[in-house]
Amino acid sequence: MIMKDNAAHNLLNLTLPTGWLVKKKVEKTDNQTGSYFSVCYLVEKEGETCFMKAFDIMKFNSISLPGTSMMDVMNDMSTAYKYERDLSTYCSKKHVTKVSFVKEAGEAIVNGYSFSIVPYLIFDLAEGDIRKKLDFSAELDYAWRLKSIHDVAVGLKQLHAIEVSHQDLKPSNVLVFNGESKIGDLGRSMCRDMDGPYNKEVYTGDWTYAPPELMYRYYEKDWIKRVYATDCYLLGSLIVFYFAGISMSALLRKHIPDNFSWEKWTGTFDELIPYLENGFAFALNEFETNITRDDLKGELRQLVEHLCNPFPEKRGHPKNVLSAGSNFNMERFVTKLDVLKRKAELSIKNF
C-alpha cells in the first residue's frame, strides 16, 4: 500500500480529539522506539510540543510473510500498542518519575481512507537520546555523565519497585529532557502484574546489549532473578557506554577468545566460567583506561564489576549478594552514583 492511501501517514495539520495539532512529520533520525509499526510526528497544544507515534495498522500488509497469519500480525500490533499505553498508566499512578511514558493515548479518525482509524501515543518531546550528548572529544564531562546515569538508575529502581523490568536499557533508550535523563521505551518491558506481549520470553530486549549468560543460552528459571539480573547488567553496560563509548558486551567479546564466543561455543555455561572471568578481568582493565579522573576510576570500575559480572548469581552489590533479599536491589547503586555525581560536581565548583 502506498503512503498516500494510508491514514497514519497523512495526519499533518489534523487536530486530534484532545486538541493536539499535528505540526510536523518526523523522519526517522534514530533508533526510535516502536517505530517499526508507527509513523512519527510532532504535535502541539497550548504552546507545548510533544512527540507522537501514530500506529500504522495497514503495515500488516507489508510485514505479513507467507506462512504467518495476518491476524497474528495485527494482534501483535494491537497488543504492543495496548501494553505500552496501559503500562504507562500503571507507572504514572505509581509515582515513577524518571521514565518517559505515554502522556496521552487515543485514536484519530481520518476520513477518506480505506482504514480511517489511527491509534496514537503522545510522549514528552526529548532533546534526543544520550548518543547526541556524549562527546569524547575533550575532557569528559564527568558531572553530567554521572548525573545522567544516576537519573537512569533511579528510573530503574522506580520500575523495579513496582515489579516492572525494563529489559531494553541501552543508549538509544535514554532520553534527555532539559538536562534530565529518563528511560524511554517501555515497549519491551515485563510487568509482573500485567499480561504483556513478552512476559513469557526469556529476553525481550536488543541482543546487542544482552547479558552474556543469555547469549550463551544460560537461563535462570526464576523470573524475578532473571529479569532483574538482566536490568542490572544493562545498567552496568550503560555506564561502560558513557565512559568508553562502546557496550559492555562489545568490550567483553573483544576480550574473549573467538573459540569461546557465544556464536561458537557448544559446551555448557559452567565450563566457560574461568574463561569468561578472565575476559571480564581484561575488559574491566580496558574500561578503566578510558577514565582520566583518578578519584573516580576505582569506584566506577567497581560499579561496573558489580553490575556486569558475567555470572548472574554473582551480579549485584556484594552486600546484597551476601545477604537475604534480592541481589539486584538498585538502592546501593543509586546511592553510590549519587555520591559520585556529587563528587564530580564538587570538583567542578572547586575548579
Partner: protein, 523 residues
C-alpha cells in the same frame, strides 16, 4: 657418562602452554560437536541506519558494538564506521579506537609456528633470559590483586615460576588454581603437566593430581581429561578405570576427531605397552584423523616400537609440532634439523626437560659437538637449576671438551646424592671419573669408572653397563694405558646389532679410536 634421553618412555601427558596459545590451538574448545540450542538470528539494521543518517563517532561505535557482539563484521558499512572512528581519533575514546582497530584487523587464522621460524640452537642463548619471565610474574601478581579468584591467572603464574625453576611457588600457585576451578580443563591439564614435571621419588605430586583427576566429574565426559587421567595412571603403573569410558567417548560420534586425538593416542599407548600392536594401531590411526602436536609426537615415539606406524609429521597440518619433528628427524638421521627442532621445542615449552635431554644427548654423543650440548644444557638449567641429570650432562660435555676444572665446578654443585635415582648416581660417579681422567688423575678416574660399572651390574641395567664400559674404554685408549686390552675384551662382548643408536655410536667411536691407537703404536 651422560644421563640419556629416554626414548623408551613417553606418555601423553598434556602439553602446557600459555592460556592464549592453548586457546588458539583449539585445545580448550568445547568437545561437543553441536549445541542443543538454536542460534540467535541477530539484526543490526537499526544500527546501520543510525550510523548512515548521523555519521558521528558515537553512532559509528554503537554500530561496531552491535557488529562485534552479533558477529556481523562482514559489511562494508562496518568497515566504513571503523575507518571513520580512526579518522576522528580526537573525538573517540580509547576503547572506540581499539574496537575499530580490531574490526579492521580482520580475523585471520593465527599461525603460532611463525614466531618459531627464526629459532635454532644459535639463537637459543639469547632467548634464555629469566628477566622477562620475572617481569611477567610481577605483572600477573598485580592482576591477581585485582582478580584474586581468577584461576587462569594462577595457572599462568605457576607456569612462569616453573620456567625459572621456582618449584615451590609454582606448585603453590597451581594449587590455588585447582582450588578455584577444580573441574576446568585448562587448569586440570596444566596441573597434570606441572605435577608430572616436578614428580620425584621424594614427593607425592603424581598421586595428588591423579586423585584430583579421578574424582573430577569432567574426567568421564571430557576426552581431554580422560586422556590425562589414563596417562597419569600409566605412569603410576595403575590400570585406569576410565579406559572403557575413553573408548566409548571415541566411538560415540558426538566428539570431533581433534577433541579425541590425545585420548586415542593415550589408549593406543596403553595397548602398545600392555596389549597388542593391532589394537594400538587402531587407536593411533584414530588419533591421526586430526592430531595435535602431543598425539603426533606420541605416535612418532610409538613408531620406534611398531615400525608399521611410521609417519611423516610434516604431512600433517599440526601447529607447534616441534617434538614430533625432532623425533622424526632423529629417526631419519637428520641430526642438524633435529637439533634445531629441539631448540624450538624447548622455547615452546621452556619448563620441559625432555627437549634439553634430547638435544644435548644428540649433540654430545652423535654429533660430538660439545658446544651445542653445553648451550642446550645451560638453557635447561634456567628452569631446572639444581637438576642432577642436567648438571651431570653439562659436566660430562665440559670434561669431553677438555675442561675438567669447569666440569668439577658443576659436579661440586651436587652436595647430597642420597635423594637421586640409582641411574643418575651411577652417571655422576662415571662423570667424576671422566673429569679425573681429563685432569690427569688417572687412578681415581679409573676407580670411579669401575665403581660405576659395578653398580650397573648391581642394578642389572645392561645398557647402562655397556655405556659405562664404552666411556671408560675411551679414556683408557686416550691415555694409552696397559688396561686397554682387557677393557677392549669387555667392549667386544657388546653386541653389534644393538637397537640403541647411542650405544652403537659410542661403540663405533671406541673401536675406531682403538684402531687408530693400534696403528699409532705400530708406527
Amino acid at each position: 657418562m651422560a644421563n640419556l634421553f629416554e626414548h623408551k618412555d613417553r606418555r601423553v601427558v598434556p602439553n602446557w602452554r600459555s592460556f592464549g596459545k592453548t586457546t588458539v590451538l583449539g585445545e580448550l574448545n568445547s568437545f561437543k560437536l553441536n549445541t542443543e540450542f538454536s542460534q540467535i538470528e541477530p539484526n543490526i539494521d537499526d544500527y546501520i541506519f543510525d550510523w548512515q543518517i548521523n555519521k558521528t563517532v558515537i553512532h559509528a561505535a554503537d554500530l561496531l558494538s552491535a557488529a562485534i557482539v552479533n558477529n556481523k563484521n562482514d559489511n562494508q558499512l562496518i568497515n566504513e564506521a571503523a575507518d571513520f572512528i580512526l579518522e576522528n581519533k580526537n573525538n573517540a575514546s580509547k576503547s572506540q579506537i581499539s574496537l575499530a582497530c580490531k574490526i579492521l584487523d580482520k580475523p585471520i587464522e593465527k599461525d603460532l609456528s611463525e614466531r618459531f621460524t627464526e629459532i635454532n640452537l644459535d639463537t637459543l642463548p639469547s632467548l634464555i633470559n629469566p628477566e622477562p619471565v620475572r617481569e611477567k610474574i610481577r605483572v600477573t601478581k598485580e592482576l591477581i590483586k585485582s582478580f584474586p579468584y581468577n584461576p587462569i591467572l594462577y595457572v599462568e603464574l605457576s607456569r612462569f615460576y616453573s620456567i625459572i625453576g621456582q618449584e615451590r611457588q609454582s606448585i603453590k600457585a597451581m594449587q590455588t588454581a585447582l582450588h578455584l576451578a577444580p573441574n576446568n580443563r585448562f587448569v586440570l591439564r596444566s596441573a597434570t603437566r606441572l605435577f608430572a614435571h616436578f614428580n620425584y621419588s621424594n614427593n607425592e605430586y603424581l598421586d595428588f593430581i591423579h586423585n584430583i583427576l579421578r574424582k573430577s566429574p569432567m574426567t568421564s565426559i571430557d576426552p581431554w581429561l580422560t586422556s590425562a587421567e589414563i596417562s597419569i595412571a600409566t605412569i603410576r603403573d595403575r590400570t585406569s578405570k576410565f579406559m572403557k569410558k575413553g573408548i566409548d567417548l571415541i566411538n560415540s560420534k558426538n566428539i570431533s576427531p581433534f577433541n579425541f586425538t590425545e585420548l586415542a593416542s593415550s589408549i593406543g599407548t596403553v595397548e602398545l605397552l600392555f596389549g597388542g600392536t593391532k589394537k594400538s594401531r587402531e587407536f593411533f590411526n584414530k588419533a591421526l584423523i586430526s592430531p595435535n602436536d602431543n598425539s603426533l609426537a606420541q605416535i612418532e615415539w610409538a613408531s620406534t616400537k611398531d615400525r608399521q606406524l611410521d609417519i611423516d609429521p610434516s604431512h600433517f597440518n599440526v601447529k607447534m609440532n616441534f617434538e614430533a619433528l625432532a623425533l622424526d628427524n632423529f629417526q631419519n638421521d637428520q641430526y642438524d634439523l633435529a637439533i634445531d627442532n629441539a631448540a624450538k621445542w624447548f622455547i615452546d615449552m621452556p619448563f620441559s626437560k625432555r627437549p634439553i635431554m634430547f638435544g644435548s644427548n644428540l649433540a654430545t654423543i652423535i654429533l660430538k659437538d660439545q658446544a651445542k650440548s653445553i648451550s642446550f644444557l645451560n638453557a635447561g638449567l634456567t628452569s631446572h637449576p639444581n637438576d642432577p641429570q642436567l648438571i651431570n650432562n653439562l659436566a660430562y660435555s665440559l670434561a669431553l671438551d677438555n675442561k675438567p676444572a669447569e666440569a668439577f665446578d658443576q659436579l661440586n654443585k651436587i652436595r647430597n646424592v642420597t635423594g637421586y635415582d640409582e641411574i643418575t648416581n651411577i652417571c655422576l660417579t662415571a662423570t667424576k671419573g671422566l673429569a679425573f681422567f681429563r685432569s690427569g688423575f688417572v687412578d681415581p678416574g679409573r676407580q670411579l669408572y669401575i665403581e660405576a660399572i659395578e653398580e650397573t651390574n648391581h642394578i642389572k641395567n645392561q645398557e647402562l653397563n655397556w655405556i659405562a664400559i664404552l666411556n671408560y674404554a675411551r679414556e683408557e685408549i686416550l691415555i694409552g694405558s696397559e688396561y686397554v686390552s682387557p677393557v677392549m675384551d669387555a667392549v667386544s662382548k657388546i653386541p653389534t646389532n644393538c637397537n640403541d643408536v647411542v650405544i652403537n655410536t659410542l661403540r663405533k667411536d671406541v673401536i675406531e679410536l682403538f684402531e687408530k691407537h693400534k696403528q699409532e703404536n705400530m708406527k
